[in-house]
Amino acid sequence: MESIISVDSLTRHFGDLQAVKGVSFDIKKGELFGFLGPNGAGKSTTISMLCTLLKPTSGSATLNNYSIVNQQNKVRASIGLVFQDPSLDDRLTAFENLQFHGIIYGMNRASVAGRAKEVLKLVELYDRRNELVKTFSGGMKRRLEIARGLMHFPKILFLDEPTLGLDPQTRNHIWSYLHKLRVEEQITVFLTTHYMDEAENCDRIAVIDHGEIIALDTPAALKDRLGGDVVRIKTTDNESAITELKERFGLDAVAEDSFLRFEVLLGETFVPRLMRDFTGHITSITVHEPTLDDVFLSLTGRAIRSESTDGVDRMKAQARMYGARRPH
């Protein structure tokens, strides 16, 4: 399959800060590609450069065979964008927002009407097409933004944290639309998220941290790298337990708060063996199949969760839920 996005050592500095340190990757046509990482990892900076909103300090990339450095308008015409922050005009109706978008992307009025109907039906907002956006809920606004991103038949749809600040039910809805539009529109989807469970929906994931891609693979392959199931135990003496796990079972356990974590093949059959042969005293034990959280943890040595609800994030979430209003 041919690549629709090729990124070659893309770098961006902000003063002394290296936000993105030479990332390279390829995305195939029709792929659902996820950028996963904590806030400040360089996700949004990378996506801004690919969307030509930000000039790279060095490196290059092509989208739909157009260069982001010197064919900006061609790149812009090839992509649909759903920004992290809302960008609808809430004094216009749903249809008028789509019409505005279609026209500034070079469509004529006749094709705007037909296409608006299609994309509004896709996100199930057709019945509300003539209502002002300021009456919409946070989830509806997101859906409308996705519809708007699709208006001009883009080859690639970029979504920056598409489910940020939405409740779990609405998040699931958004995902069902994303899966549906892949089938109906045959489009390549590039999204960023810091929700691990959502990243599982992607065909491939790039894990990014401190401006570098530290892993890039399918979710299944990433989890396979961990070498089995994740076991967490609590013992009365964790330090000697680490030694015993190493010597008797050949396992590298890591202390994590008051727990010890290690990965082992066929965890469910290993636990009875551990109970039988372990000489120390185990007070608690859990076994689970690896998640992307575990992957991130083993790659970076820290959990993504602890960083995912900082103040800025909550503020953004609130702004989105209640909808930013213009004062009169």
Binding site: P86, L88, R91, I103, Y105, R109, A324, R326
Partner: protein, 254 residues
């Protein structure tokens, strides 16, 4: 053709937003109405204009100035709405579109001017209440002139708004642009007997020529400073320079 469609849709958005805010239309008419009926009546009866013909009504003198003031305020607000668009994210949607930037500037300029002209027309309808006859000839000259004046001021506003990142600068705009432009334009008092420094400064205020032309059309007996055609040429020249600067300022955005 494609670019003109972009200009049209940006213009249409401005006009739709204006027409949907009926309450704002009414409330922003209260200030000029206060000037006209309260300030105009009060000042008029407490002073007698030097050399004024018998039966002179200060409110009639004031009226073209009030039209200019209405257009000035609406046009500046329309231009400054770019800053709202930036704060609320909508500007991003426009800026990433694969269109030349001048289409955005021009659409915004024409949209703001249309809105300001409409607001001026609503004020114009009050003319008969102070004894100014609205003949078809007067209306046919005043309405396009209101548009032209609005266009020059909206364009100037865009030059300023292109640089503003937040609405915090708005008070500054009021103090440094709006009020001086209004006072120096001869909208509220005649510039004929104004001190030298004031009449010097007023020469750089586009509203001076706009108000003078309006006065020339509506009240020819009041002896305007310049001929109507001279005023129109100056305002048109100012508009051209300002829209050029606006396009330049907007192109430099990243």
């Amino acid at each position: 053709m494609r670019n003109l469609r972009v200009v049209w849709i940006i213009w249409l958005r401005e006009v739709k937003r204006y027409l949907r805010e009926k309450i704002r239309i009414i409330t922003s008419l209260t200030m000029p109405a206060l000037y006209l009926f309260v300030l105009g009546k009060g000042l008029g009866s407490s002073m007698a204009m030097r050399g004024a013909p018998p039966g002179f009504d200060f409110r009639q003198f004031l009226f073209p100035g009030i039209l200019g003031m209405t257009v000035l305020m609406t046009a500046i607000f329309a231009a400054i709405s770019i800053v709202w668009d930036r704060e609320f994210g909508f500007l991003k949607e426009v800026m990433v579109a694969p269109v030349p930037r001048w289409t955005i500037t021009l659409g915004k300029g024409l949209g703001g001017s249309t809105v300001a002209m409409m607001q001026g027309v609503i004020m114009l309808l009050l003319a008969p209440t102070i004894g100014i006859n609205l003949t078809p000839a007067i209306v046919a000259q005043v309405v396009p002139l209101l548009f032209l004046v609005a266009f020059s001021i909206t364009s100037m506003g865009i030059v300023v708004a292109a640089r503003m990142k937040t609405m915090e600068g708005f008070q500054m705009i009021m103090n440094f642009f709006l009020m001086p432009m209004l006072f120096l334009s001869g909208a509220i008092f005649s510039l004929k007997n104004a001190p030298g420094w004031m009449s010097f400064l007023s020469k750089f205020d586009p509203l001076t020529y706009g108000v003078d032309a309006l006065r020339g059309i509506m009240l020819p007996e009041m002896q305007p400073l310049h001929s109507i055609s001279f005023n129109v040429v100056v305002v048109a020249f100012f508009s051209t320079v300002m829209i050029g600067l606006a396009v330049f300022a907007f192109n430099r955005q990243d």
